[in-house]
């Protein structure tokens, strides 16, 4: 367990010191969400209606940017082989790195989302639900994304392949994430079911995705 904690701690420290990945994801998120109203014009009602969807889709794309690097640097400098022979099973390594990815990407993006909601005229009562649904949904993005990151580890131009492979797997998270926000904006009872399904997807991916990622990593290390 201490090995798990150390690995998460080191990844957070590296993300903090190197800084680039968090900044790029946040910048990308900001730019995509800012460009959209310019493209479709200043119709406030329309913007308010599409705001949850735009915020979620842009968040997924921003998270994808840094997903490809999850194992890459460790493979390049030889750390991954040492991590694989440590006291932590490979699934534990994958889980620790996914958790670190969530803390350095999912959480900052979630914090930025309400600010961007202002640009899209998001309904005032939807802000709390937006943050809540993103906090519940983004772990699935990092953990399921780890499978793709492990699969495309040695592929050249793996980033594009990663997007192709992973975006379809994010569809359930996306649908229920958007649905939760939209339902609360309409003041209907549909919030709770969508939110609970979102939590279920994240919890299942927390358990299952590291196992799948470990199989892919084992294969990549041969």
């Amino acid at each position: 367990m201490s090995a798990f904690r150390e690995l998460v701690r080191r990844d957070l420290e590296l993300a903090w010191k190197e800084g680039g990945t968090i900044g790029v994801a946040l910048g990308f998120y900001l730019v995509v969400v800012t460009l959209l109203p310019l493209g479709i014009g200043p119709d406030l009602n329309l913007l308010a209606r599409i705001a949850p969807g735009v915020l979620w889709v842009a968040l997924l794309l921003a998270a994808l940017l840094s997903l490809g690097r999850m194992f890459e640097t460790d493979l390049e400098d030889g750390s991954l082989e040492v991590l694989a022979t440590g006291p932590l099973p490979l699934a534990g390594v994958a889980a620790a790195k996914s958790l670190a990815h969530w803390l350095t990407t999912g959480v900052p993006l979630t914090v930025l989302a309400p600010l961007l909601g202002l640009l899209l005229n998001l309904q005032p009562e939807a802000y709390g639900v937006l943050v809540l649904s993103m906090l519940a949904g983004t772990p699935a993005v990092s953990f399921i994304g780890a499978i793709g990151a492990a699969l495309t580890l040695r592929a050249r131009r793996g980033g594009l392949l990663l997007a192709l492979l992973m975006l379809p797997l994010f569809v359930p998270t996306l649908i229920f994430g958007i649905e939760a926000v939209r339902a609360s904006a309409l003041d209907s009872d549909a919030f709770l079911p969508s939110f609970l399904i979102l939590c279920a997807i994240s919890l299942a991916s927390l358990v299952l995705a590291p196992l799948a990622a470990a199989v892919a990593l084992r294969f990549q290390l041969q």
Partner: protein
């Protein structure tokens, strides 16, 4: 303690690197893997640590910890040093120490043993190739593991550092540890045996 390889075979890319390879290394001994480039030295080391599965045969450790795999009782120093350039020398050593379950008080000793004590607060990015190699090697000292697998450990080391490595290996062997090293340069290990690879490389 005894590391035993029994009739190992390895086929890589349709080529048999070795077959029917058996050897045993006892505690306190060093086994030098010799052979030309492409003979399978690195492959054999990756096989011992468990990253590659042997196509035939098995590798076992007699007298080791039965709860752990062979790989978990090995320090494997490959061609890459497993360092993070943005962390300092000490932070790099500290991470591997804590991750591999070593005692933090060993870090200072390990850094001193490879002549890195004065660089402890420098980021690893600013180290020379030889200093990076020393820091990579210092990993074997921060946490105790009975088997050391060293793949070309002396690359880019100067004479002083090679002596430091020889001293560390001699101490490890004296404490009953095993060393398997793939090397071109004679490292001057006191009690060592040689295993020549490459004589049996042929198309499968």
């Amino acid at each position: 303690m005894k590391l035993v390889a029994d009739r190992l075979a390895c086929v890589r890319g349709g080529r048999t690197l070795f077959a029917g390879l058996s050897f045993a290394v006892e505690g306190g001994e060093a086994l030098l893997l010799l052979g030309p480039n492409g003979a399978g030295k690195t492959t054999l080391i990756r096989m011992i640590v468990g990253l590659l599965r042997p196509d035939e045969g098995r590798i076992g450790l007699d007298g080791g910890d039965a709860e752990l795999s062979v790989g978990e009782q090995c320090h494997c120093i490959g061609h890459l040093n497993a360092l993070k350039p943005s962390l300092t020398v000490e932070e790099n050593a500290r991470f591997w120490c804590c991750y591999l379950g070593g005692r933090p008080e060993r870090i200072a000793t390990a850094l001193a043993a490879f002549g890195l004590a004065h660089l402890r607060d420098s980021p690893a990015a600013y180290l020379s190739a030889g200093q990076k190699r020393r820091l990579g090697l210092a990993r074997v000292l921060v946490a105790h593991r009975p088997i050391w697998l060293l793949d070309e450990p002396a690359v880019s080391l100067d004479n002083t550092a090679q002596d430091m490595l020889t001293t560390a290996v001699a101490r490890h062997a004296a404490a009953g540890g095993l060393v398997v090293a793939a090397t071109h340069a004679p490292l001057g290990f006191a009690k060592s045996r040689e295993l020549h690879l490459g004589s049996m490389a042929r198309p499968a």
